[in-house]
């Protein structure tokens, strides 16, 4: 596999605040990697260091096998899409898209040709002469994408690019970005704090917390095999249960809600606990059951809704069960 981007023990502090602990990361050519984490987890700092907008205190950045730690942003050949798009308000859409080509001293005719083609690619052929603020949020987003991919950078960084859009537009744009990723074959680093977005789009997810990498893996690895309490809680919903007596007290056992069943009369499972049902919410295809164990712990089970099954009532005593293979043992320590 061809390594496109390599971070080697890169770290950054702002005064006493540690924004990024020494972090290493390899990104292969053509991958769609998402940096996922809460705000302040260091994901934006990491992106800024990659783009050359922030200097790191230590460590090295390698791009295409070249040491690029001190390369200024304009020489890195990286495309960056900003959270607020950062379209130049005084330039038309076409002038915005032409800007990176002008910086590369491309002949005028070639620039015009490329701009026109790029507008076709993002499906906005009519808006070349408009100013950015005359466009809708989704259109601005696509112009930002066009401007940053028109010079065919082999790496594109995206800093929460869909954060400002409403839910439906966001879903459309996710598909759009996936399509463009395949079409252009670029390596994409995508920053978001939205776990569903990360799941939907990524080849791999780099989960970040507290200025460091918590876990790196495919979406299903992160979801089904979280390596820490944080990872389990940040991605999806997690139930934690007291470990079996032979385990140390600091270890915890995690089960996803969809893996917990309300057992019927006589039905058995690898692990069974008694609980009192507190509430049942019908969500359409699924129903969510909230139950409390005798120890006071709360558990959530999400099962297929069953029209014909016996209805459950709050206060009802139930038995919850799950298969041993579905339970994940976690150390309370960080997963790294």
């Amino acid at each position: 596999m061809n390594t496109k981007l390599r971070l080697d023990q890169v770290a950054k502090s702002y005064g006493p605040v540690r924004a990024l602990r020494p972090t290493s990361l390899d990104v292969p050519q053509g991958e769609f990697l998402t940096l996922l984490g809460p705000s302040g987890s260091g994901k934006s700092t990491l992106l800024q260091i990659l783009a050359g907008l922030t200097a790191c205190d230590q460590g090295e950045v390698w791009i295409d096998g070249r040491r690029s730690t001190d390369t200024p942003p304009h020489d890195r050949g990286i495309g960056l899409i900003f959270q607020n798009y950062a379209l130049f308000p005084h330039l038309t859409v076409a002038q915005n898209i032409a800007f990176p080509l002008e910086m590369r001293k491309m002949p005028r005719a070639e620039i015009d040709k490329r701009v026109a083609r790029m507008l076709e690619v993002v499906q906005l052929p009519q808006v070349g002469n408009r100013l950015p603020r005359e466009l809708s949020g989704g259109q601005q987003q696509r112009v930002a994408f066009a401007r940053c991919s028109v010079y065919e950078p082999s790496i594109i960084l995206m800093d929460e690019p869909l954060g400002a859009l409403d839910k439906r537009l966001r879903d459309d744009m996710q598909t759009e970005i996936r399509r463009l990723h395949k079409e252009l074959g670029a390596t994409i680093l995508y920053v978001t704090h939205d776990q569903e977005e990360a799941m939907a789009m990524s080849d791999r997810i780099c989960l970040m917390n507290d200025g460091g990498i918590e876990q790196l893996g495919t979406p299903s690895e992160i979801y089904f095999r979280p390596r820490s309490v944080f990872a389990a809680e940040f991605v999806g919903h997690a139930n934690f249960v007291k470990p079996a007596p032979e385990l140390t007290a600091s270890d915890r056992c995690m089960v996803r809600p969809e893996n917990i069943r309300i057992l019927k009369e006589g039905e058995q499972a690898d692990t069974v606990v008694e609980a009192t049902l507190e509430d049942t919410v019908m969500l359409g295809a699924f129903s969510r059951h909230i139950a409390r164990l005798a120890t006071g712990e709360r558990m959530v089970a999400v099962n297929w809704s069953d029209e014909k099954g016996a209805p459950h009532h709050p206060g009802e005593r139930v038995r919850l069960g799950w298969d041993g293979a579905k339970a994940v043992m976690l150390s309370a320590e960080r997963g790294r």
């Binding site: 730690t69 304009h74 900003f82 330039l91 800007f99």
Partner: protein
């Protein structure tokens, strides 16, 4: 009119709609009576001879005499030069302040504000100390042996320019800064990730976006300097006079009121022409701080052409500086580490500008305790004599107390009229808002001398000349715009949902205003009050024409003494004024930083 009617189908005879306008009435009525009518009367007067018969004689005289034409040309070229120097000198300062961290910004802002708040007469006196034949510069250069004869730095064009630029540059900087602070920083970052070097990003992106601010400052400086007479009179040569000086001569020496009125019309016409040209090419909206992209909105052929030229120019400057940068990199090779920019040249140029604005007045302090009889540098010995002269002079003490009293009363009246108006203008959609706002801000751009002369005619008829009431009313005309602007700016940053929250929590409107709105706006209100007070303390045109011998005022007293005899007692007075101003600024800064701290505590 039909268009307006279409846009507003909701206009009904709803009494609440009219109640909404009530707070505007006092301010508008005030300005109509003491500002619009007197100025209109003055213009009217220019078409009559001294016996009251209609005539265009005065204008014929103006056109016939080449000297007057020369004065008009002088005034225009003087204003153009002042504008150029203010913009060229002010831009790097504004750019520096706009692009440093907030922690570094506040102290620099303070040094820009100090001269803005300091009496213009005091600043002119400081330049006399610095530029005079025995001044700081000449004495220093002589003692270093660089020159053998004192340089002529004063009583010529150079002196006038230094004084005027020093006077108007803070305003220019603040107006440019307000636009620059609204430029999204990520735009420059975007440009550099797209392949632009720093210098290219500046010329192609930042500079064009800052131009509306440059244009607005240019207009403000140009129009203000058209009516200037203090710097030309005190720092210039008698052979090279300005329109406003000519008006004063006609009034005070020739007693030719009608001709003075005709000259005022010329001055007013020049002002209006400049404003109209500006509006046609760039749009007046950039004046009120509403940033519009350079290529935006309605735009005639002139506007399109200028934005086209602007882009070509930006591109040329961008490439020029890129090649320069590459060349410099060849000459001075060495691996540069990526890191925070240091920008040494910008810091040197910017701080030179700040020093030019902030330092001169401080030379007055040692002079005020010098034993030397003249304003000569370096100060010799130490004496309190000049302060004794001041405190033992009934005229000075009377003038000071009256100025403070009139200033406080003016600030109070300006607040009473201006605050309710600002609330309505900032919070409600009122019909004719832009007209009303223009009326409120007009006194700021109109030459003060025109207003003062107009008031003098009015007061002469109703016996208000030389009265405190007359002075307070006159000063309020000029202080009102500052109150309105300041309060509107504060209200723009005020979250109205806080009021709504208080109402839903059971507070009445009155309680909400007292317990929520007012405490949060306190710092802004005090700033507005002090701004009005300081402006009134410094207002010379009103003092010259509305006060008389029985009602001495500080600016008038300073002006007279500076015109005839100059001694260190003036430096003593100036030092005292500096202390008053310094205290005012300290109060404002304390309130602001207190407010800021409270806000961060909330987070």
């Amino acid at each position: 009119m039909t268009a307006i009617a279409h846009d507003m189908p909701a206009v009904r005879a709803d009494p609440r709609r009219f109640a909404r306008y009530m707070p505007l009435v006092p301010a508008v009525a005030f300005l109509a009576i003491v500002f619009v009518i007197p100025v209109a009367q003055l213009l009217f007067l220019s078409f009559f001879d001294n016996k009251g018969n209609p005539t265009i004689l005065h204008y014929e005289r103006l056109v016939a005499n080449a000297t007057y034409f020369q004065v008009v040309l002088n005034t225009l070229s003087y204003s153009a030069w002042t504008t150029l120097f203010c913009l060229v000198g002010g831009y790097p300062v504004a750019y520096l302040i706009a692009t440093i961290s907030a922690r570094q910004r506040n102290p620099l802002m303070l040094w820009i504000l100090v001269p803005l708040w300091t009496s213009f007469l005091v600043r002119v006196l400081a330049w006399m100390v610095i530029l005079g034949a025995q001044g700081v510069i000449n004495r220093t250069l002589l003692s270093l042996g660089i020159i053998s004869q004192p340089l002529n730095l004063i009583y010529n064009f150079f002196g006038v320019m230094v004084g005027s630029v020093h006077s108007l540059m803070p305003i220019a900087i603040l107006m440019m800064l307000s636009v620059m602070l609204n430029i999204d920083r990520s735009l420059s970052n975007a440009a550099s990730t797209l392949g632009a070097r720093k210098s290219m990003a500046f010329w192609r992106i930042y500079f064009p976006l800052s131009l509306p601010g440059v244009a607005a400052s240019g207009l403000m400086v140009f129009v203000t300097s058209l009516g200037f007479f203090i710097a030309p009179q005190l720092l210039g040569s008698p052979s090279n006079i300005m329109l406003a000086q000519l008006i004063i001569v006609q009034l005070e020496e020739s007693l030719n009121w009608e001709f003075a009125a005709a000259l005022s019309v010329v001055l007013l016409a020049a002002t209006i022409i400049v404003v109209v040209i500006f509006d046609r090419t760039l749009g007046l909206s950039s004046l009120t701080g509403e940033t519009r992209a350079a290529g935006a909105g309605r735009k005639g052929p002139v506007g399109r052409l200028s934005s086209e030229i602007g882009q070509r120019l930006g591109s040329a400057l961008g490439w020029g500086s890129v090649y320069m940068e590459i060349l410099l990199g060849r000459i001075m090779p060495g691996r540069r580490r990526l890191g925070p920019e240091r920008r040494p040249i910008l810091w040197i140029v910017g701080m030179t500008g700040v020093a030019f604005l902030a330092l001169p007045t401080f030379f007055l302090i040692p002079i005020s305790v010098s034993e030397n009889r003249f304003l000569a540098w370096p100060p010799q010995g130490f004496t309190w004599r000049w302060y004794e002269v001041y405190f033992s002079s009934p005229v000075w003490v009377d003038a000071t107390l009256r100025s403070i009293g009139v200033g406080l009363a003016t600030a109070a009246l300006s607040m009473i009229l201006g605050v309710p108006a600002a609330f309505v203008l900032a919070r409600h959609h009122v019909i004719g808002k832009s007209v009303i706002l223009s009326l409120m801000l007009l006194p700021m751009v109109l030459p003060h001398i025109i207003v003062a002369v107009g008031l003098f005619y009015l007061y002469a008829k109703i016996g208000l000349v030389g009265t405190n009431i007359g002075l307070i009313i006159g000063n309020t005309i000029f202080s009102l715009p500052y109150v309105v602007i300041t309060v509107m700016a504060v209200l723009r940053n005020y979250d109205e949902r806080l009021d709504q929250a208080a109402w839903t929590l059971g507070a009445t409107r009155g309680v909400t205003f007292r317990r929520v709105t007012l405490p949060l706006l306190k710092a802004g209100m005090v700033t507005a009050f002090l701004f009005a007070f300081v402006k009134a303390m410094d207002e010379l045109a009103i003092a010259l024409f509305v006060a008389d011998a029985g009602t001495p005022l500080l600016p008038k007293q300073l002006w007279q003494e500076m015109s005839y005899k100059i001694d260190p007692s003036l430096a003593a007075v100036s030092t005292l004024i500096l202390i008053i101003v310094g205290l005012s600024i300290a109060i404002v800064q304390m309130l602001n930083s207190f407010g800021a701290r409270r806000r961060t505590d909330d987070v």
